[in-house]
Symmetry: C2
């Protein structure tokens, strides 16, 4: 790793500061900038790049400088203005128009582009009724209330009414129970208090988990309906001034969103594991396992307050209470609720834009890059802010190609449709192209919403070293230091570890089918942290909102285009694909140590708990005037045999150490090609064809979205979730499966060594 404080860098920083802070006239500033630009080009040109020979590194640096010079914020601005002009949800006219427009751009930029369409099940809301029927009465407004000063919010019939896609139809009436975020710990707490949701309707706050977990768990616990609302403590006036004074959610704002059971499988609910082509065999809707079991509806905090205020029963625990000016009670009842939902379940066409720039040397090695184009409403931030950055990146890549700098490997850009309802566009495409992907997939780089702030990057840890190197070369537009230096500073100031690390990927955007279903090494990139607001999936995620509160001059859009663009270009042009295994090892071995530690902790906690049960501590500590359910003793946590897994990791470390010593860049071109073929496939060796227990669609053994967290990642998911669920038989089985997978990974790595 290079020293970020090299003298050269310091000199550059001095010049940058000088230019920014002195009172030179514009022309002098301009000349100094030219000097700086040349310095950067010639300076960087001497710095090594992972996977490049010295000579090719120089060329790559020059190429990236040309690439950067192509990027223009004006293009992002005008593209957002066009794409977010009207609501463009899945199946909408404007969504289709957007796809066609995007297609045309890619074609204009020299791409071999087309639209790949699928027919997917998509529910539109037909009836939405939510009433408090006792002891007082109230009918939820559920309306989209226009916001003064933002004409986009006044587009009436074009706006998609607020709902949760893939809620089941239903007509239920029952007492209400407040379940906090509706996550497993909340139900544990309710059980301790002797409160059951069986036969009840639950009301849960947004946040705390991905929203789809809330109706899933509620149904598992016996509830017959589910309301989700945005509490002002998490998402409203407690966070900051509300729109349009500030960026936060007003009292009528409703977060739309899918509640499809994506941790089971994402994509079209009727075609699990295969593409939703026109003539595909489809499940009956009643057999689609990822549609919720109970009706679920999202509401605003203005609508939620009368329901919550009508609850009695125990006061909610401290950490459950939100920001409404009421005492939060749990119920059940006396509040009684009637919820009626009907959806128009139709097969709808979706439009993925696929644009290919064929590689000159290795056309069958694909570097893939995607961002979705569908939104819930206007989606200026989600997803257009990311999409316009990707499009500008693609345009620049196209310009480079036109000027003779075609990539060595093929680059494919995707503008996905139907991400919002359940990663459907990307999933169907991946399912349709499994065989090609397994053969040709080098990596997939995803983006989505983007704004002002800090680099946030997650992905396959074989790519961590490369991403870090790229990010060290991209300047933060507000401070002039590298985006990685700024990120690290923020980490340290906020008490986290400063060193750059990729986070592990759970779910929540279109990388999921690539990495977790297919084993294509993936990344997810974005900037943010200084762009907070409450617009997510509401009618005020609009162009004027974005221009005021997110990335007013699109400098972070440009920064994202640079970061992702350099990654794409390096992957496309590398002599040897820049996968690195020492950092992979440190991270994955860290996960293993974590799982072992968690197991010991669980054992100690169980012992402590059981002793407290024996000693009657819970009974004695409880207030005798309140209902008390004596906790049960829990089964002792056995000692699991992690030794074979640990030995495997030790073996892998030996292989990796040997690998690190090899000078792969000096191999013959033919050998390099062979090595690259095997490197491309290495992430696939971390998958297991059988998939995870009870959800075979998820095949990656290192990363998965949590079965009960949704988007939230579970690393080493087979083993970790078995332990968390105290399923010791399965934990032992999954330790074997993971060991086998990692041995396979080790074998593949050794196979590469054999080539040298």
């Amino acid at each position: 790793m290079k020293d970020p404080y090299s003298n050269k860098k310091r000199f550059k920083m001095l010049i940058i500061n000088y230019i920014q802070h002195t009172n030179l006239n514009i022309m002098k500033k301009f000349y100094l900038s030219i000097v700086l630009f040349l310095l950067i080009i010639t300076g960087n040109a001497q710095e090594p790049i992972l996977g490049f020979t010295a000579e090719n590194a120089k060329k790559e640096h020059e190429l990236e400088a040309k690439f950067d010079a192509q990027l223009s914020a004006v293009n992002l601005d005008s593209a957002m203005h066009r794409l977010a002009a009207k609501p463009h949800f899945t199946g909408s006219d404007y969504g289709h128009q957007n796809a066609e427009w995007i297609l045309k751009q890619f074609k204009d930029w020299g791409y071999d582009a087309h639209i790949e369409s699928y027919q997917i099940l998509f529910p539109y809301p037909k009836t939405r009724l939510l009433e408090l029927t006792g002891p007082s009465t109230y009918t939820a407004k559920l309306g989209s209330v226009p916001i003064i000063g933002d004409k986009y919010t006044q587009q009436g019939d074009l706006l998609l009414p607020s709902y949760n896609a893939f809620s089941s139809d239903g007509d239920v009436e029952a007492e209400l129970v407040f379940v906090n975020y509706g996550v497993p710990e909340d139900y544990d707490q309710l059980e301790k208090m002797g409160i059951s949701v069986k036969g009840k309707i639950v009301i849960a706050k947004y946040y705390g988990s991905w929203r789809g977990i809330k109706p899933k768990l509620a149904a598992e616990k016996g509830a017959i309906g589910c309301i989700i609302y945005s509490d002002p403590a998490d998402d409203g006036y407690v966070q900051g001034d509300i729109y349009p004074k500030g960026a936060f959610k007003d009292e009528n704002g409703v977060q739309r969103g899918s509640v499809m059971d994506m941790p089971l499988y994402p994509g079209d609910v009727l075609t699990p594991g295969y593409a939703a082509t026109k003539n595909a065999k489809r499940l009956d809707r009643k057999d689609a396992k990822t549609i919720t079991k109970i009706p679920v509806l999202p509401i605003s905090y203005a609508d939620a307050q009368p329901f919550l205020a009508a609850l009695e029963g125990p006061v909610a625990p401290q950490s459950w209470r939100g920001g409404l000016p009421i005492t939060y009670h749990i119920g059940p009842g006396p509040a009684k609720v009637h919820l009626r939902l009907e959806f128009d379940w139709q097969l709808k066409p979706i439009y993925n834009v696929v644009a290919k720039m064929k590689g000159t040397e290795f056309p069958d090695e694909w570097v893939m890059r995607g961002n979705h184009h569908d939104a819930w409403v206007h989606g200026a931030n989600d997803p257009i802010s990311g999409l316009v950055a990707m499009m500008e990146e693609a345009r620049a890549v196209g310009e480079l190609a036109k000027s003779g700098n075609k990539p060595k490997r093929s680059i494919i850009y995707f503008a996905w449709d139907a991400e919002e309802p359940g990663l459907i566009g990307s999933t169907e495409w991946v399912e349709a192209h499994q065989d090609e992907l397994k053969k040709s997939g080098v990596a997939y780089i995803n983006t989505d919403s983007n704004g002002r702030g800090f680099l946030e990057a997650g992905g396959s840890h074989t790519l961590q070293a490369m991403v870090k190197q790229v990010a060290e070369g991209v300047q933060d537009p507000q401070t002039g230091v590298s985006v990685i230096k700024r990120s690290s500073a923020s980490n340290r100031v906020n008490g986290r570890e400063g060193d750059f690390k990729l986070s592990a990927l759970g779910s929540g955007s279109d990388y999921t089918p690539f990495i977790q279903h297919t084993g294509v090494a993936s990344l997810n990139l974005g900037f943010g942290g200084e762009d907070n607001g409450g617009e997510y999936h509401t009618i005020f995620d609009t162009y004027p909102m974005y221009k005021r509160f997110k990335d007013p001059d699109f400098t972070y859009g440009i920064t994202l285009a640079k970061t992702a663009g350099h990654i794409v270009l390096r992957l496309a042009n590398a002599d040897v694909l820049p996968f690195e295994f020492q950092q992979w090892y440190t991270t994955v071995n860290g996960y293993l140590e974590e799982v072992m530690k968690e197991t010991s902790k669980l054992r100690e906690e169980t012992e402590k708990h059981n002793k407290m049960v024996t000693d009657n501590d819970f009974e004695l500590a409880a207030d005798p005037t309140k209902p008390f359910i004596k906790p049960k003793k829990e089964a002792a946590v056995p000692h699991l045999d992690f030794s074979t897994l640990e030995n495997t990791m030790t073996d892998i470390k030996t292989t990796i150490d040997e690998f690190s010593e090899k000078d792969i860049l000096n191999l013959s071109n033919a050998k390099k090609k062979e090595v690259n073929q095997k490197l491309m496939a290495i992430e696939r060796s971390l998958t297991n064809e059988k998939g995870l227990p009870r959800r075979p669609w998820y095949k990656h053994e290192i990363y998965a979205p949590g079965f009960y967290t949704g988007y939230g990642v579970k690393t080493l998911p087979g083993v970790r979730e078995a332990i968390e669920q105290t399923n010791w038989k399965e934990a032992r089985e999954q330790i074997s499966v993971l060991t086998e997978t990692l041995n396979n990974f080790n074998t593949k790595l050794k196979d590469i060594l054999k080539l040298m």
Copy 2:
């Protein structure tokens, strides 16, 4: 220490459970209770008591059983009904009537009782005006709004208007700044944000520190006025249903209270360190250092909301935000505030009731017991709940005396006046009786508010073993186990250490002049934790409120009477005073280790901070669109020489080990008397005549209220506060002072050893 799970105890528990849970008729239950009672008497009678010979322990057990049998909840109920019938604040007619009534009771019970009166400065509110003068206008209501269903709250003119006693007079107008709790960390945060309160009026939430700290710090920071309000997140509907539906503070409730600078010195502001007798030389009011420098007024959350809502400027940090349905901004301004306060500063007579039961063998050895009688309004909970328990205890002691069981040592009961405005009654008495106290003071046991729940006990750690032994013998009325077992269970369930420990005493009730000024070993006792509410210092701390939400049947009043009564009786009758030093050592050595650890932590944090400053981390992590003040480097934390202090603690441990091996109970009576004389004085050896830096009134070297926390304790205060304030010169000096004091303590302990 005896085993709390002895077979005898288990057998008793079986019987208790059997009596409680079976369907026996009343008479059978009664007979079984008698059996149990005899079992307890004969059982306990064989158990040893700290400081008693076996024979005398048996007598003491019998005496305590007789004592317990005297106690009647009906008496507590009727006494509260009488004492809390009308407001009885310092200087009020009803306060005086209460004192006379209490005096009469003590006399009737056989005590040598009298009233000791002092003339103290006490401010009554004359003018209270608080207005928002811009950009919108609002005049704070400041009214006591009667509560439907509680006629006590409708006593009109009798109710003391809400104010903070010992606020200065003032008439100020300025922009408003929200300062969270107004504690030092909050001002650090404001400084980081570049916000000054100089020339402004601050608004602070109650809680986070003792209230008097808020105007004190605000004035130090340059503010010219201070508003304190109860935020519903800490003290209102967020906590639970509001009165009268529930026990929590309604929108109009205002917490009254003193803002006298008690961490400097408590008691009459005009007579620091000496008694406020009629002809005492008094300071000019302008020279009284414990009156606030700026005007300060407490308000309700209904009154606070318009002021807070009118603020602009940065949004308050997450942890500052309260429970009002607004976005909390910091300001300064544009809200502009006018605050005008005038007080009627009068010398008022106060009435301490002092009731003595002369000891038969050691009349000049005083066991002291007190609870205040003055309240802010009706004070059913604060202080009457504790007072009526103490009075019932005193009545029972009187009955024992009448039946021939007079105590060996003198017992003195105190019903203090003027605790609320600043521990004035007790402080003046202690200052008047310094010499006698130093000669005769064995211990002082304090109580104050009391309610349903768990034993909360703080005090001198020489008394910890004794308190634990007493508490093991007192039954919790709701569960039937000992109060200590219940407390421990609650500690464990709430993740704290289970073993019983006395907390260290800061300030907040009448023990302060005894322990911290005079070095009389002290205890503070009470039950609570299942009696939460918002009545503290408001108009709804009334009899009906207490009966509904605190201790409806006064069983915890009885339990307090038993706990405190047994402690008093044991101290009064012990053969050798039950001071124990092993637990003292463990605790105090723990404080020393903690201070050393804190110093190292401060050093590491300072190094980390300074590196982050050097690396520009703060600047890089900051949002460039928001004001940013670059943090300064802090002076490095030196290594302090704790070695002499540590060696002293080692020496003390040697002495204590030797002490523990001695069989003091077998000494001759004459020797025992000598030992007792020295044991009585041992706590005094932990004081230092010069007192703490800048506050010589506080002389104890182990315990003090924090200079910037108020009630909150600082252990080893001289050393700890110097370190916290990074005053290294003073820290070194205070290490010497503490070493000297502890050496003195060691010498005194060795002197006792010499007697054996």
